[in-house]
């Protein structure tokens, strides 16, 4: 048997050598004493905590939790539809007031913006004919720079020049109308 073992071992050794092929991280063995003594020290630390609970705390914990769970369930069944509706009334009233104010401000209170284009020429004429506009009102309506120009031009134009201009330029038919 010994010779047979020797032959087989020689074969294995020749084929695969007698090294396992396993290796370790570098410096693994250098730090091993430290690692083991640290682990040993850790194991010496007490795993018991210093906190305490009342003597019977854990004995009736299930009952107390279950009581809380069942009372919570009860409360949820008590709330009826009527209660919910009653609770909603103040909220609905407040919402209605806000809605009313909102609609009034943004929808019903809209004013049409009047522009000169929207008024027909006949309406303007009618208004000018029937309304007695004073000179002051007209000057107030005119912008300052226009008034300044007019001041300047009126002061320098001779009466004759004005007469000539009226005679030559103005269509009397317009004035007559």
């Amino acid at each position: 048997m010994d010779k047979e073992i020797k032959n087989s071992v020689d074969y294995i050794s020749k084929k695969a050598g007698n090294k396992t092929g396993f290796s370790t991280p570098s410096n693994y063995f250098n730090n091993l004493e430290e690692a083991i003594t640290v682990k040993l020290s850790e194991e010496k630390f007490t795993k018991e905590n210093s906190f305490e609970v009342p003597d019977t705390y854990f004995n009736n914990l299930e009952d107390r939790i279950l009581t809380k769970v069942s009372s919570a369930e009860k409360e949820t069944t008590i709330i009826s539809f009527k209660d919910r509706v009653l609770k909603m009334i103040p909220i609905a009233a407040a919402a209605s007031i806000i809605l009313f104010i909102g609609l009034n401000s943004f929808l019903f209170n809209t004013t049409e913006e009047l522009t000169l284009d929207a008024v027909s020429a006949d309406d303007i004429k009618l208004w000018l004919d029937t309304s007695a506009l004073t000179t002051n009102e007209i000057t107030l309506a005119l912008e300052d720079d226009i008034l300044d120009e007019n001041d300047f031009s009126f002061s320098t134009i001779e009466n004759e020049t004005i007469e000539d201009y009226i005679n030559n330029s103005i269509d009397y038919t317009d004035l007559l109308n």
Partner: protein
């Protein structure tokens, strides 16, 4: 008083226990590491098992009765820790121990801490096919070159039974290698 006897005395004395323990780790760390590594295969798992082995030694040194050598006693603890470890792992993975060991050797090629070549992977796969006891005997005899009487003390098995285990292990491995390489 031999060095070993002195060390044991120091380990049993509260005053000198920690210093002696560091010395004990330094003396046996590499031998125990490689013994465990051949059983659990992965480096990280070996590190865990090795540390647990030394911690068990530290805690139980008072129970060490000196009927066997300190070295044999520590080897025995390391062996038991390693086998317990792989059995636990296999159970966690819901695998039969032989399937678990086959899986371990199948991932050797991608293991960062395996520098062997293809034939060494084949050799590890061949060892994984053996019954647990034959694996132990083969590893201890072939790689670690322990004597039968040392092995007998560690494994608490008769020399005759160890020789028979080694014979069967060697024949099976030879056959496996021949099959895989031809």
């Amino acid at each position: 008083m031999t060095d070993e006897t002195l060390l044991i005395e120091q380990l049993k004395n509260v005053q000198t226990k920690e210093k002696a323990f560091r010395e004990l780790i330094s003396l046996y760390k590499e031998r125990l590491y490689w013994h465990i590594r051949k059983i659990v295969i992965s480096h990280d798992d070996t590190d865990d098992v090795l540390q647990n082995t030394f911690i068990k030694v530290f805690r139980n040194i008072d129970k060490f009765n000196q009927e066997s050598k300190l070295f044999s006693w520590m080897y025995r603890i390391a062996t038991n820790e390693s086998i317990t470890f792989i059995n636990k792992r296999a159970k966690q993975r819901n695998l039969d121990i032989s399937d678990y060991q086959h899986e371990l050797t199948s991932t050797l090629a991608s293991d960062d801490f395996f520098t062997g070549d293809e034939i060494q992977i084949i050799l590890q796969k061949a060892i994984a096919t053996l019954p647990q006891k034959q694996q132990l005997v083969f590893n201890m005899k072939y790689f670690s070159e322990l004597k039968y009487n040392e092995m007998s003390e560690i494994l608490e098995t008769s020399i005759g039974a160890l020789k028979a285990s080694y014979f069967h292990a060697v024949k099976k491995i030879e056959k496996y290698i021949k099959l895989e390489t031809n």
